[in-house]
Amino acid sequence: MRGQPIWPRIAPGFVRAMLAGHSALGLAFAALIWLVCFTGSVCVFTQEFARWEQPVAPLSAAVTPEAANTAFQEGMKRMPWAHDAYIGLPTQAMPRLSIRASTHEPSEREGDWVADANGHLLQPTQDRWSDFQARLHYELHLPRPWGGYLIGLIGVALLSSIISGVLSHPRAFKDAFSLRMGGAKRLQEADLHNRLGLWGLPFYLVVSLTGAFLGLTTLIVGVLALAVFKGDVKQAYALFLGPTPIDNPAAAPPPDLTRMFAYVKADAPRAEVRYIMVEHPFETGGRFSFNASTPGKISRGETYVFAADGTSAGVLGYEKGTLGQKILSGVAPIHFGWFGGPVVKFIYAILGMGLASITSSGVAIWMARRRDKGKPAETWERLWAAFVWSQPLAYAVTASAVLLTPPDSADDLLLSVWGGVTLASMLLPIVMRPKLISVTLRSLGGGLLLGLVGVHVWRFGIVPVDPVALIVDLCLVLIAVSMVLSVVWRPHVKPHR
């Protein structure tokens, strides 16, 4: 671009130092950042995948308080060991009535049912795949809280890369519209890296900051508790947990929820109750938290707390409380794109994959620079190609495994399948060059995605009860075809003026 620059000139020494830091950090965390971006882009559609996985479950646009109460009472009869329960009410993204219960330690015993619009429990919930991919993004399937810490650290590294990336590219805004392909590999990748990085900048900043915050929350609260509450983290969390009814372990039948519904409706007529958390449903001191979200707000929704006798204990303050509570309530929806319907979800997925591409092109720039200097990092080129393209394949195989195995298969089956496919792909560098690895894994990934759609249609039909399943299938076909076409097709680009 011609004309006088409007940006202040930055000293070349500073830019070179920033580039060194940016490069070192990006390379150190490249694989983890790529994995988190890829899994995050898929995770945006967790609810749609849950519907795709069980497309024969009945849909309910809305249910009456009586129906929700029926689901609760039936659930407690089927699961009398319940220590906690979660009743999911139909929303636009997940139009189902469901109830989940668990013992004090969730891994000991869990039950999860889908109900019809009248609240009668019909079939167990099938959400192994959507749960697997979400946990891969939240905590990489590592033990708690370490998985969360690692995800938080990756978020910090990503945020740091963004900061150093902005500071080390003083021409980024000047070259905002320039994208040229061809010629030297390094220049081509640098153009793509810088352009995608610039246009997604607000999104990348917000997503990495909120992701790091969500991952590090336990650590931050732990240190705060150490400083203020002599290490008692419960006291720190109590500031956000809201009112708690007086504890009373005396046995009591599960209460009628309709009175609590009426209270919420009277207090917030526009709000939509999205879920109910029940703690100690069979005790006189039970706690019933109704989450009600008001349209037009980025919020997890206000939470109304009730005692077992139906009296209100107050609200948590997510929509009516302090600024801090409102911000906290908006962090997760902003991070996952769960605030503006399907269009925002698609934008998040596209920009999320854009961030994964930026990571990948960053590594490609480093590799091309090594080649230009006559010191090619061939092993790393092979490993990187294998790792990046292993993930669509691993996801396709894992999702197929869910459809082809019984619902009560071992919990760690999916992790083994995902890990096995990833590791097997990482062995390809022994016998293949980067280009062939990329072509092989893209073709296999695309082919298996098509196979996955075939298995899904074979099991549930083309148009099952839930139409979202058809949309997901069509999107998967589109992605599969794009992956296969990317192997054989080279786009035509305009010559530079």
Binding site: M181, G182, W199, L224, G324, Q325, G337, G341
Partner: protein, 191 residues
């Protein structure tokens, strides 16, 4: 999605696209129209944000429209890919290289410790100090202090990995961590 939602979405997208195209036109051709196109492009984006706020609410509107602008801008760039002329190298393509530091093992480890645990402790200290010592409701202080932690840690990480004067970075981070954590633990009360 109702037809009204669709209309609102398409209007916001049209404004975002018009803004991006105006800015691109200004970028391609630096003629007399250029300042007007730059101002017009930004104005269109501002109108898109205000429109979004009016339709979807103040915070939600900004989030939706900014997401739209990001994606639209990226798509405008991607749809105008050019083939690089390898014979005429643009001046901007003589890009700067990262500074070539000598590889010294202890410096590498120290840099890692600075960017990781030490920058993390300093950031945690500042976040805690704000949560404990600043005025306002405790929940607000905790959330703002908590949100600052990853941001400051990331900033510290970027700085320590880039700064060639590694001892300076060590001194600053140790000092910040000591002062902020000291202040937080000394006060020792969130009320």
């Amino acid at each position: 999605m109702t037809p009204v939602d669709l209309f609102h979405g398409l209007t916001a997208e049209a404004l975002a696209l018009a803004g991006a195209l105006a800015l691109r036109r200004a970028w391609i051709k630096p003629d007399g129209l250029r300042p007007w196109l730059i101002a017009g492009g930004w104005l269109l984006w501002l109108v898109a944000v205000l429109f979004g706020q009016g339709v979807w609410g103040s915070v939600l509107g900004i989030a939706i429209v900014v997401s739209l602008i990001c994606m639209t801008g990226a798509l405008v760039v991607l749809s105008n890919v050019e083939r690089r002329n390898v014979k005429t190298r643009m001046p901007r393509e003589a890009a700067l290289e990262p500074s070539d530091r000598k590889r010294v093992m202890w410096r590498g480890w120290l840099r890692g410790v600075l960017a990781g645990p030490l920058a993390g402790m300093a950031a945690l200290g500042v976040g805690l100090a704000i949560a404990i010592c600043s005025p306002g409701p405790p929940q607000t202080r905790m959330v703002i202090g908590g949100l600052l932690v990853p941001f400051l840690w990331a900033g510290g990480m970027a700085w320590t990995l880039s700064d060639n004067k590694i001892i300076r970075a060590t001194c600053v981070l140790v000092g910040v961590a000591a002062v902020s954590l000291g202040a937080a633990f000394l006060k020792g009360s969130i009320a």
